[in-house]
């Protein structure tokens, strides 16, 4: 009786063959399976006579079965011509460019699918008006903390201002949001001045706003994410009344993805007259500066001193939104520049320190070589842009200050290590056909370095060149050296 392990191994091998057979064209599949099963039967009988089981034998049998995938793949390709073409493209420049294009296509597709990346790539949806600042208490170290009470905001708005021509206030708090029969969910709701969205210049989808403007209820703008998540993207939601906390509010619009670029994330915003905003926790104040105040701004900030009627004064910072919402393009360009500067610290940037011992490629080959290098760099830089956006903003629709830092780090490392790969890859490509050299072989021994060279020899599969890489650089053999193979070597390389 056969042990249970034997059945497991047999089932595994059959499973491998069956999986490989999926690759085989339908009309050849039955015969192909028949041949491989017969061969497997003989392999098992030869390797494990009398049902003897050992891990080493099973590894050999599994290795035999894995070869079925190559056989099936060959049949899938169909003809001899295509098989030869496969051998020719293996490690070739075209294959390299193909894979780079595939990665670029994938990252570009993800960038178009992800709402977060779309919002970052199309800043026109969230670009705020110029000369807008966020006023923060100077004693608070965090730029993103709510520091201004609504009473102070009202006082500023009442007084005639020399440097500011409009203000708006908002505050974020957790409230229960419910519509129709559902029980309600706790969401972050912003209580904002009625003029805030107009002041920011945000475009809010509001098809029925005109029809509903005369209602007595407070008006509510939903975030795009909240509209999708809590209301199932209901196209008829605008104009309907929902409940937020204790109040009935009328939905008048839906903000586009990523439109909200201010501190504090919210799922909805209730537009309120300044007088009705309840006193309570501190909020944020947005101010629009007059053109004359713009000259006071330095490095995106302006220092503001407020004198109270009792003679005391308080300090505030005005922080420009233009600085906060510069978008991903500037970060990307900066990281690309930084990567080019940092590259020499990782690897030698020279790709011309390879001397031919007996042959010099033609100038057209050199042009093709440089064009290939340029193509790889262009692909890499484009991939870096889309991939860094994908990794930073794929799961996050809302804007956050940390996202810029994440994009910076991701973009920098992709670009830096990508450039390192480009340079190293270029150095290992045959100058004649641009195939990657392969089949590394150790030559010589280290103790005889001064008598004969020792290192690694790599071969171009097209039969054009050998690359000798010294194991221990010496004064007479310090850099890798290309050895040109003349036509007498051709017979070793099959067409």
């Amino acid at each position: 009786m056969k042990p249970p392990a034997d059945w497991v191994f047999r089932a595994f091998d059959q499973c491998l063959l069956r999986s490989a057979s999926i690759l085989v064209p339908g009309q050849q599949r039955t015969e192909w399976q028949q041949e491989w099963k017969a061969e497997l039967w003989h392999v098992r009988r030869a390797c494990a006579p009398a049902g003897r089981i050992s891990l080493q034998v099973e590894q050999e049998i599994t290795a035999f079965c894995l070869g079925a995938f190559q056989d099936a793949f060959y049949l899938r390709l169909g003809s001899r011509k295509r098989g030869v073409r496969l051998a020719q493209i293996h490690g070739s420049a075209w294959q390299c460019l193909f894979w780079l294009a595939a990665v670029l296509t994938a990252s570009y597709t993800v960038a178009n699918i992800s709402a977060g990346v779309r919002a970052e790539r199309h800043p026109e949806h969230y670009r705020v008006k110029s000369n807008l600042i966020l006023i923060q208490d100077a004693h608070d170290t965090s730029d993103w903390a709510a520091t201004i009470p609504v009473e102070r905001y009202r006082a500023w708005k009442r007084l005639h201002q020399q440097y500011f021509d409009d203000f708006a206030f908002y505050r974020i708090q957790q409230e229960t949001l419910s519509a129709g029969g559902n029980g309600g969910v706790v969401r972050a709701v912003g209580h904002v001045s009625a003029n805030l969205f107009a002041l920011l210049g945000l475009q809010v989808e509001s098809r029925n706003a005109g029809d509903t403007a005369g209602g007595t209820e407070r008006r509510l703008i939903l975030s795009h994410e909240g509209w999708e998540r809590d209301f199932g993207s209901n196209p008829h939601l605008i104009g309907s009344i929902i409940r937020v906390g204790e109040h009935q509010v009328r939905v008048v619009g839906i903000a586009p993805d990523g439109a909200w670029r201010l501190p504090g994330q919210a799922d909805a915003w209730i537009l309120e007259p300044d007088a009705t905003i309840a006193p309570g926790a501190a909020g944020y104040v947005v101010a629009h500066m007059t053109p004359s105040a713009r000259s006071e701004m330095w490095n995106g900030r302006v220092h503001i001193t407020v004198y109270d009627t009792d003679g005391s004064d308080e300090d505030f910072w005005g922080i420009s939104f233009a600085e906060r919402t510069q978008g991903p393009w500037g970060i990307y360009l900066f990281t690309v520049m930084l990567s080019f500067l940092a590259l020499p610290a990782l690897t030698s940037v020279s790709i011309a320190d390879y001397s031919f011992s007996s042959h010099k490629p033609s100038w057209t080959r050199d042009v093709i070589r440089w064009a290939f290098l340029s193509g790889k760099i262009i692909f890499l830089l484009t991939i870096t842009y889309f991939l860094s956006l994908d990794l930073t903003y794929f799961s996050s629709i809302a804007y956050s200050p940390g996202a810029s830092g994440v994009q910076f780090i991701v973009s920098f490392f992709i670009c830096l290590f990508g450039l390192r790969w480009v340079v190293l890859d270029q150095r290992q490509r045959c100058p004649v056909c641009l195939r990657r050299v392969t089949h590394p072989a150790r030559v010589g021994i280290a103790s005889r370095t001064f008598l004969a060279w020792n290192g690694t020899e790599l071969m171009c599969t097209g039969g054009h060149t050998l690359l000798h890489v010294p194991g221990l650089p010496t004064s007479w053999f310090g850099t890798p050296r290309w050895v040109y193979l003349d036509p007498s070597w051709k017979f070793l390389f099959a067409e």
């Binding site: 099963k37 017969a38 061969e39 003989h42 009988r45 894995l66 079925a68 056989d71 001899r80 390389f493």
Partner: protein, 105 residues
């Protein structure tokens, strides 16, 4: 002409093994030391180049020996010519895999 086509050393080894009497995939693997992932695709290519021909053995023979029927390969006339050319190019081929006639000598 196919007989003048240059064969890789691997393909020449497989032709030589078939000529030497190793007529199915696993025996060729054992003789040449090549893995299955190389031998079987190479044989497909040799067959499509009309250098070898395959034939299933009779089911009655396999049944009598209580084993599955297997597929045998043999050289075609073109394959013999190509092998002769390859032997000149790779002189060690016959010493690595002696053919039946060589063994009898």
């Amino acid at each position: 002409m196919a007989s003048e086509a240059k064969l890789s050393h691997t393909a020449a080894m497989i032709l030589q093994a078939i000529d030497a009497g190793f007529v199915y995939g696993f025996s060729i693997m054992e003789m040449t030391g090549l893995p299955s992932g190389t031998v079987y695709p190479a044989m497909r290519r040799l067959e499509s180049d009309d250098l070898i021909r395959s034939q299933w053995e009779r089911q009655s023979i396999a049944d009598a020996e209580q084993r599955p029927a297997r597929k045998y390969y043999k050289l075609t006339a073109t394959g013999r010519l190509t092998l002769e050319t390859s032997r000149k190019r790779y002189p060690l081929l016959e010493r690595m895999i002696p053919s039946e006639e060589t063994k009898s000598i």
